[in-house]
């Protein structure tokens, strides 16, 4: 995407808030939602718009887990590692995803199809271990089920694996 466009769009997003430092998180969250990550140029625009030093913007961005500075894959896999999921073997899912997609948490596949994240409790402890791909939940996962789910995304569709 061309830089001036990102700047333009960022400004549009930011302008929905008053130029006060306290809206830093809110603006960043909206931009994150738009691009699935925070482009560097956006941070600069936000810094200027809200009159918050870029260093601080960067500090805030790296502090909160909600923000990412690197572009995400087409499909974002969020494996829950809440306590309930953890004691029910969420780490086995991570191992399996690594085996299938070859990525570690925080990474994106070379083809840009998947990104893997480990998230804290997503409030679906009853379905532990659980993961989300984009907005869809997959609960009580076993490595076998997981493999099937991933395959379905690979083919571009999705499968009801519940």
């Amino acid at each position: 995407m061309d830089l001036s466009q990102i700047k333009q769009e960022t400004l549009v997003v930011a302008s929905t808030y008053k130029p006060e430092p306290r809206f830093l998180l809110a603006v960043l969250q909206d931009i994150q939602r738009k691009y699935k990550y925070l482009p560097k140029q956006s941070l600069e625009v936000v810094s200027e718009y809200l009159d918050v030093p870029l260093t601080k913007v960067y500090g805030v961005v790296t502090f909160y887990k909600a923000f990412s500075l690197t572009p995400k894959g087409e499909n974002i896999i969020k494996v829950c590692d809440g306590t309930a999921c953890h004691i029910k073997g969420s780490m086995n899912l991570i191992t399996e995803i690594k085996a299938v997609l070859g990525i570690d948490p925080g990474q994106t596949t070379a083809d840009g199809k998947f990104s893997l994240e480990i998230v804290n409790c997503i409030g679906s402890c009853a379905l532990a271990p659980v993961m989300m791909i984009n907005e869809s939940y997959y609960g009580k996962l076993t490595p076998a089920k997981l493999r099937a789910v991933l395959e379905s995304y690979r083919e571009g569709g999705m499968v009801d694996a519940k």
Partner: protein, 250 residues
Amino acid sequence: MEIIIDGKKVEAQYGETILEAAKRNDVYIPTLCHSEALPGLATCRLCMVEIVENGVTKRVASCSYPIQSEIEVVTDNEKLRRIRKTLLKLYYTMAPNSEMIRKLMEQQDVREFNRCKVDTENKCTLCGLCVKACETMGTNAIYTVFRGAAKKVGTPFDEPSEPCIGCGACASVCPTNAIEYLEENGTRAIWGKTFKMVQCKACGKYFATEEEIAYLYQKLGDDIDIKKCETCRKKANANRFIAAIKAEGF
């Protein structure tokens, strides 16, 4: 108001910190992150003391705990010593080669702690003084980035920070001398940014960064003249006396 420090009654002012009261009364409490210029960080936790307030015994960081009632303070006992010692073991793993840490370890009788990974390259204890100094300068060139175990002090994207003027206040306030600062051949380098320095118009000595000078002009207005190093400015000043004396016939 009157408080008790280590069994001794001392005068304290409402709202001042325990550390301030102790210092004024010559009671030593070890500190690392404390600076009167940049108070209130309370990150190093070496200044923990035990207090009894309203009948409750608790241990607090003396540098930030305000005196609001007639408390009783103990600055050294078995428990506090244990806290400091354990804490210093952790400091050792972070910055084993820092002179300050070594000094504190010696003072608190702490030996080298090698059970865990010891970062021999590091000197930073993330006390936060540098960031606060930079913030105080109004430059905001550095900030803490990331959090938890990954936290560090840095610049956006680890790139040279645009607002940095190279004043080195960060390095100056650093208690463990963790911030590298190199001046050579007319440049000053800090935080990955290399500054061109301004040469003294008279003697040619490099005396400040261009950014520092710009900062000063911004603060003081254009009336001020900063073209020479302090020695040559002093000389110029002396010259004015000399000219006056000459004018008066020696």
